[in-house]
C-alpha cells in the first residue's frame, strides 16, 4: 500500500475491497458515535457549550502571537524551555538536538499526531535512538510499521486477532502457549513489554491537547496512564505540539476539556488529565529535570487570515471522522496523510498544498454532518469548498472536469440554448434506454455508469410540457 494523498482513489478502492476493514469501520457508530450521543444527552445545553468553545478557540487564533509569547514567558519562568519550529525539519532538528544533549538513547513517547506529522520516529531511529510508543494503539502500529488510521484510536483499523498476531510475531519472549484472545490479555502483554521501556527511558516525548498561556502549562488527556509515565519517569521531557493549541488559561482549558472528551469518546472526562508545567522544582521531587516545549508551525500560521482559518479551532476530538460516511467507508489510511476524515480534508491542503492533497476536499458529498457535530463549530464543508475553488483557480483541477463544467455553464447561462440542449438530451437518453426504464451505459459520466444505471427521462422536458400544456 502506498501512503500518499495523491493515491487516494486507488487506496480508497483497495480499502473498499477489504472485508476485514469493513467490519472494523462498522464499529465507528457503536464505539464512538453512540457514546458521544449519550454523553451529550446527559450534559444539558451542549449547544451553548459549543458556542463558548468556538469563541475560546477563535479568540486564541486571533491573539495567537501574544498568547504564544505569554506561554513562552510562563514556561521560562518555571524553568522550562520553549523552542520554535517553522516546519517539520526544524522541529526534528530541535528535538534531536535536545535528545543528543541529554545523551538519550531510549525515548518513550506518548501519543502525538504532531510527532506523526513531522515524521519524528524515523528521524530518531536514524539518529541512533530507540523511540518506543507507549499508547497501546500507537505501540501496536509502531510494531506493524503502520501510520495511525484515526486521530484518537491509531490502531482502529485492526481486529484484536490481528493485534494478537502482531504480538506473537514481534514479541520474541512471548510464550506461544499463552492465550491472547481477550483484550485484557493483549493489554497485559503490551504493558509487560512497555514496563521495561519506561524504566530504561532517558527522555519522554508527549504531545499536548492544549497549551495554557497564563500558567505555561501543557495539558494532555489519556485513558491509559502512559502519558504520565512517559513524562514523569525520564530526566528529560519534551512536549511537541502545534502552535494553534494555545488558549489563554486553564479556565478555558476546562471548558474545552468538557467538549473534547464527550465529543471524542463519550466520556465526561478522560481517565487522566495531566497538567505539565515545567521541570521538578527541587531535586527531591519527582518529574523531569529538564522540560522542553517544541512549538511547530508547519503551515499553520499561513492559514490565518484565509477562508481556511477556522480549521485552526480544531481540538482533535475525531468526532468528524466518527460521523463521516466517507471515512466510514474507506478508513484513515486511504487518505495517505497524518490527518484523515473531514478535518484532514479541511487541513491537509493547507499543510501539504492543494496540488498534493486535492482529493481530500473533493472526496466529500458535503453532507454537512461533520460541521453539525464539531464541538468548536468548524464549517468543514465550507473550508473544503474553499480548497476546491483554489484548486480550480490555480488550474489544478482535472482538465476534463473543467471543460465539462465550462460547456455546461455556457448553456446554463443561456436559458434558450439550454432548453434546446435539454430537449435533445431528454430524447436521446430515452432513446438509449429503449424499452428499459434506465440507461445502462453512456460515453460521458463513466463514473456514474460504473456502479449504477441512470433512470430514463420521459422524452420531453418539464419546460416544453409546461409551455404546451
Amino acid at each position: 500500500m502506498t501512503f500518499d494523498p495523491r493515491s487516494f482513489p486507488e487506496a480508497a478502492h483497495e480499502a473498499l475491497s477489504n472485508p476485514s476493514l469493513k467490519g472494523v469501520l462498522s464499529r465507528l457508530k457503536t464505539h464512538f458515535a453512540l457514546g458521544r450521543a449519550i454523553a451529550l444527552s446527559r450534559y444539558g445545553d451542549f449547544e451553548a457549550l459549543r458556542e463558548v468553545g468556538r469563541a475560546i478557540r477563535d479568540r486564541a487564533i486571533a491573539n495567537l502571537d501574544t498568547l504564544l509569547e505569554t506561554f513562552e514567558t510562563s514556561v521560562t519562568a518555571r524553568g522550562g524551555h520553549v523552542h520554535w519550529a517553522r516546519d517539520a525539519a526544524e522541529a526534528r532538528e530541535v528535538i534531536v538536538g535536545i535528545l543528543r544533549e541529554a545523551g538519550a538513547r531510549t525515548v518513550t513517547k506518548g501519543k502525538s499526531m504532531v510527532a506523526e506529522e513531522i515524521a519524528l520516529n524515523p528521524c530518531l531511529e536514524a539518529s541512533g535512538m530507540i523511540p518506543v510508543e507507549t499508547d497501546l494503539g500507537e505501540y501496536i502500529i509502531q510494531l506493524r510499521k503502520e501510520p495511525p488510521s484515526h486521530l484518537i484510536a491509531p490502531a482502529f483499523h485492526l481486529h484484536k486477532e490481528q493485534v494478537a498476531e502482531t504480538f506473537r510475531e514481534k514479541h520474541t519472549t512471548l510464550d506461544p502457549a499463552r492465550t491472547l484472545d481477550e483484550r485484557q490479555a493483549l493489554v497485559a502483554e503490551a504493558r509487560t513489554m512497555l514496563r521495561a521501556s519506561f524504566e530504561a527511558a532517558d527522555a519522554g516525548i508527549t504531545g499536548a491537547n492544549f497549551l495554557s498561556a497564563a500558567e505555561g502549562a501543557a495539558v494532555i488527556v489519556t485513558n491509559e496512564g502512559n502519558g504520565d509515565l512517559t513524562r514523569l519517569l525520564p530526566r528529560t521531557h519534551i512536549v511537541v505540539t502545534g502552535i494553534e493549541k494555545v488558549v489563554a488559561d486553564l479556565d478555558e482549558v476546562a471548558v474545552l476539556l468538557r467538549l473534547l472528551t464527550r465529543s471524542a469518546t463519550g466520556q465526561e472526562i478522560s481517565s487522566y488529565v495531566s497538567v505539565m508545567s515545567g521541570p521538578r522544582e527541587r531535586e527531591a521531587d519527582e518529574g523531569p529535570t529538564a522540560f522542553h516545549v517544541v512549538l511547530v508551525d508547519n503551515g499553520r500560521s499561513k492559514l490565518i487570515g484565509t477562508e481556511a482559518q477556522e480549521v485552526l479551532r480544531c481540538i482533535r476530538c475525531a468526532a468528524c471522522l466518527n460521523h463521516c460516511p466517507i471515512y466510514g467507508a474507506v478508513g484513515g489510511h486511504a487518505y495517505g496523510a497524518t490527518y484523515s476524515g473531514p478535518i484532514g480534508a479541511a487541513l491537509n491542503p493547507g499543510l501539504l498544498g492543494v496540488g498534493i492533497a486535492h482529493h481530500h476536499p473533493n472526496a466529500s458529498t458535503f453532507c454537512g454532518r461533520c460541521a453539525e457535530i464539531c464541538p468548536v463549530k468548524i464549517p468543514l464543508p465550507k473550508i473544503m469548498r474553499h480548497w476546491r475553488a483554489k484548486e480550480y483557480a490555480e488550474g489544478l483541477a482535472p482538465k476534463a472536469s473543467v471543460m465539462g463544467l465550462g460547456l455546461w455553464a455556457f448553456a446554463a447561462k443561456r436559458p434558450a440554448l439550454y432548453r434546446v440542449g435539454t430537449r435533445i438530451a431528454a430524447r436521446m437518453l430515452k432513446a438509449l434506454a429503449g424499452k428499459r426504464g434506465t440507461v445502462r451505459a453512456f460515453p460521458l459520466m463513466q463514473g456514474w455508469f460504473a456502479v449504477r444505471d441512470f433512470p430514463a427521462p420521459k422524452g420531453r422536458t418539464f419546460q416544453e410540457l409546461w409551455r404546451n400544456r
Binding site: 480508497a12 473498499l16 463544467l405 436559458p415 426504464g437 456502479v451
Partner: protein
Amino acid sequence: MSGRPRVGLFVTCLVDLVRPQVGFAAVKLLEQAGCEAIVPDAQTCCGQPAWNSGADKHATAIARQVVDAFEGFDYVVVPSGSCAGTIKLHYPEVLKDDSAYLPRARALAAKTHELTAFLTDVRGMTSVRAKCAGRACYHDSCSSLREMGTRDQPRRLLHSVQGLSLSELTDREVCCGFGGLFSVKYPDISERMADDKIADVVATGAELLLGGDLGCLLHLAGRMEREGKPVRVRHVAEVLADMADEPALGEAEK
C-alpha cells in the same frame, strides 16, 4: 389583486430533464395551498455543480440569473432541499463580493423554501387528498435536513395519504452517497454509501422509497436497478399530489 400569493416555481434541472411529473405535482400542490404557481422561462440550474466544484465565476453568473428571474415573486418554491439550500444559504456567499446583487440575493434567500416545508410551515397545509397503497419509507437528503430544516414536514403530509404506511430508516441522518459530482468522481465510495442506504431501506420492508431530492433518488434508483432490488422510487411530490401513476424512477413503461 387576487390575494393569492404569487409563487415562482424553481423546477430544478433534474426535474426538468428527467421527471417532469414532479414539476406538475408541485404546481398542483401549490395551487391546493392557495397559491398561484408561475414557472419563469429563464431558469436552468441553480449553479450548485459549479459552486461545489469551486468554479466560482460560473456559479456567480448563474446565481445572478436566478436572482433576476425570481426576485419578483412573493415566494420561491423548490421541489429539492439541495437546490433550495443553494439559493437560500449559498447565494449570499456566491455573491458576497457583488454589492449590487448581494442585498437582492439575501432578499431572495429570505423567501425561498423547500416544497413540503413551504406547504406546511408557510401555507399551513396539514393533509393532502391522495391515495397510495403500500409501505413506504422517506429518505432525508442532507441538504433538506441540515440546510433547510425539512424533516417532519413531508412525513406529516405523507401520514394523510390514504393507504400509505410509513416506516423509518435506522440511519436517516446518514448521507446516501450522491453528493452531485461526487457520485461521478468517486463512484466506488458512492456505491458503498448507496448500498448501506439501500440495505437500510430493504430492512424496513418498504416497497416504495420516497424523497424530496431527485439527485439522491436518481442515484439510489439507478443503483437498485443495477442490483435488481425491487423497491420503487418516487419524488414525494408525486405521491402528495396524487400523481404517482407514472412508472417509478427507472421502472420500464408498462
